[in-house]
Amino acid sequence: MRILLARIWQWPTGRLGLMCVALILLVALLAPVIAPYGPNAIDVKNRLQGPSFTHWLGTDHLGRDLLSRVMDGTRVAVLVSIAVIAIAATIGLLLGMIAALAPRRIERIVLVIFDIISAFPSTILALALIALFGTGVANLVLLVSLAFVPQFGRIARAQTLAIRNAPFIEAERVLGASHGRIVLSHVLPNILGPVFVLASMNIPVVITIEAGLSFLGIGVPPPLASWGSMLRDGYTYLNQSVWPTIGAAGALTLATLGSTLFGEALRDATDPKLQGVS
């Protein structure tokens, strides 16, 4: 773990990514403590203000402090994206391993399900699902994660297949170890690495989708602060003040760029082909 972080640190881009990710996690964790105002503290008299010492990023159309809302939005973005990836990875791993170990017929069915899900572009799938099933944080997380299941499933299946035929697994099977035991003790630890890399590469994608859906008004419901819904509000009042837009857009850019750089550095750091190359 420490070696991995050191390896990420050696690239300037990895360093930047790591710092952004650390900043985001820190803000998400400490938002209630360090935010200067409550995220929903309305102050209509001071609506649509520019940056000042009292409101560093200005205020929105209801006079809410934008810095506090950006910080609170960080919590939403982090929680939603981690929840989505966790659910997608769990279901994907399960289905992928089942596909690799189960009889051919079941494998086929699982793969066809993956193919059909992948036939929809992920944002559009999430959009269609939420439009039909209704908004809400729980729906958002569950339905968006559905779009990411095939990626995890395919990688889990490929890795399981590769390991299933490895000599040491054969030996264990001859010694009488059960399927479940073999999977838990060998396959799982071996596929966690690639799955973790895939997860971190997908974090910015999920952040983008969450913000996008919230921008369309079908993501995180108000009054919860999401960067996407802040951008939506800002867009509506764009002719009166640009600051609500800038705050949310800046936070989104920082988060997606930082997590992308981090994800790429992590991928490179775990790539055996690149090791030893500085």
């Binding site: 881009t13 066809v112 193919d115 059909i116 036939a119 929809f120 572009p121 992920s122 944002t123 559009i124 959009l127 269609a128 699902l129 439009a131 039909l132 099933f133 209704g134 910015p204 983008t208 913000a211 996008g212 921008f215 369309l216 008004g217 079908i218 951008l231 867009y235 764009l238 002719n239 640009v242 837009t245 800038i246 857009a249 989104l252 850019t253 997606t256 760029l257 997590s259 992308t260 750089l261 790429e264």
Partner: protein, 332 residues
């Protein structure tokens, strides 16, 4: 394969196209079925949901009967397929307009946007990638790398909002709203600039990065050294021999990104208030106009699947090795 290989290759390619179209049909049917069942899974009475909470039970019943919602599921699925096959995507529940008409009316706008974006992406991204690979490690190369990753990472709709801020709010340079006056090509093109750039920027970065990586790989291959050994000009080596090979993996990834392109187009249409499939879907979502959402999404999925087919065919056209393996593996 002894004897004359070229005719075999031609039928192979034809067979390949046929098999691709067959797969395409299956994927579309699968997607339609999924879409259909998703609508069925909507919690609560579908007719009630569609009409909204204020509808009376009598209205709901009449609506259900009119839409055939009282029929068993398989009958409705069959009818859905049948209708779509005839080009009937259903009707707008508010205005009663055929959805197909609504879609066809704005489809050219969306298609123009998508093509303009991808064209711009290729036109700038490819030379940029080749430049970065040729002058590897230079200032320009590093700058390209940093800009690429920043723009790729930023969501399209955020890029669109930045462009909106810069060019329309601050500089007042370019028009923001709409798709331009119908029939006035110049006006339409001017209105296309900002939306297309918003989508294209990410693609430029994406393509430049891919081109750079695959160019560097190709330029190290022995066949490039062969060309150098015979004094072939470096312009010809770069733009003919290396480019065609480097384009293959780039094209594959571009194919994978088409879904994001279409999704990005939806957002960009909304932000720039441009009539298109995206704005239709958006309005339908806000009005809970489910048949329109269903129809709109179906059209987007169709575009997605068809563009993937085009990419596959381009792929086979670029790489004779794939052409042959397809000809051999194709349906006999």
């Amino acid at each position: 394969m002894p004897g004359k290989p070229s005719p075999i290759m031609k039928t192979g390619l034809g067979g390949y196209i046929l098999s691709r179209i067959a797969t395409l049909g299956i994927v579309i049917l699968g997607a339609m079925t999924t879409l259909f069942f998703l609508t069925q899974l909507v919690p609560g009475n579908l007719a009630q949901v569609l009409l909204g909470p204020r509808a009376t039970p009598a209205q709901v019943e009449a609506f259900a009967e009119r839409m055939g919602l009282d029929q068993p599921v398989y009958v409705r699925l069959w009818r859905f397929f049948f209708q779509v096959a005839q080009g009937d995507l259903g009707h707008d529940i508010v205005t009663g307009r055929p959805i197909l008409d609504m879609v066809l009316e704005v489809l050219p706008n969306t298609v123009a946007l998508a093509f303009a974006a991808i064209g711009l992406g290729l036109l700038i991204g490819v030379p940029l990638g080749i430049y970065a690979a040729t002058y590897r490690g230079s200032r320009g190369d590093q700058l390209t790398a940093i800009l690429s990753v920043s723009i790729i990472a930023t969501p399209t709709f955020v890029v669109a909002i930045y462009l909106l801020l810069i060019f329309s709010i601050w500089l007042h340079w370019l028009p923001v709203i709409g798709a331009g006056e119908p029939g006035n090509l110049v006006d339409q093109l001017v209105h296309l600039i900002l939306p297309a750039t918003a989508i294209a920027l990410g693609w430029i970065g994406y393509i430049a990065r891919l081109m750079r990586a695959s160019m560097l790989e190709v330029l190290d291959e022995p066949h490039i050294r062969t060309l150098r050994a015979y004094g072939v000009s470096s312009r010809r080596i770069l733009w003919k021999y290396a480019l065609k090979i480097a384009a293959i993996p780039t094209l594959a990834v571009v194919g994978l990104g088409i879904g994001d392109l279409l999704a990005g187009a939806i957002f960009v249409e909304i932000i720039f208030a441009r009539p298109g499939i995206g704005s239709i879907i958006y309005q339908a979502i806000n009005n809970r106009n489910y048949p329109v959402v269903q129809g709109g999404v179906l059209v987007v999925v169709l575009m997605f699947v068809i563009s993937n087919l085009i990419v596959d065919l381009l792929y086979a056209w670029l790489d004779p090795r794939i052409r042959r393996s397809l000809a051999e593996a194709g349906p006999s």
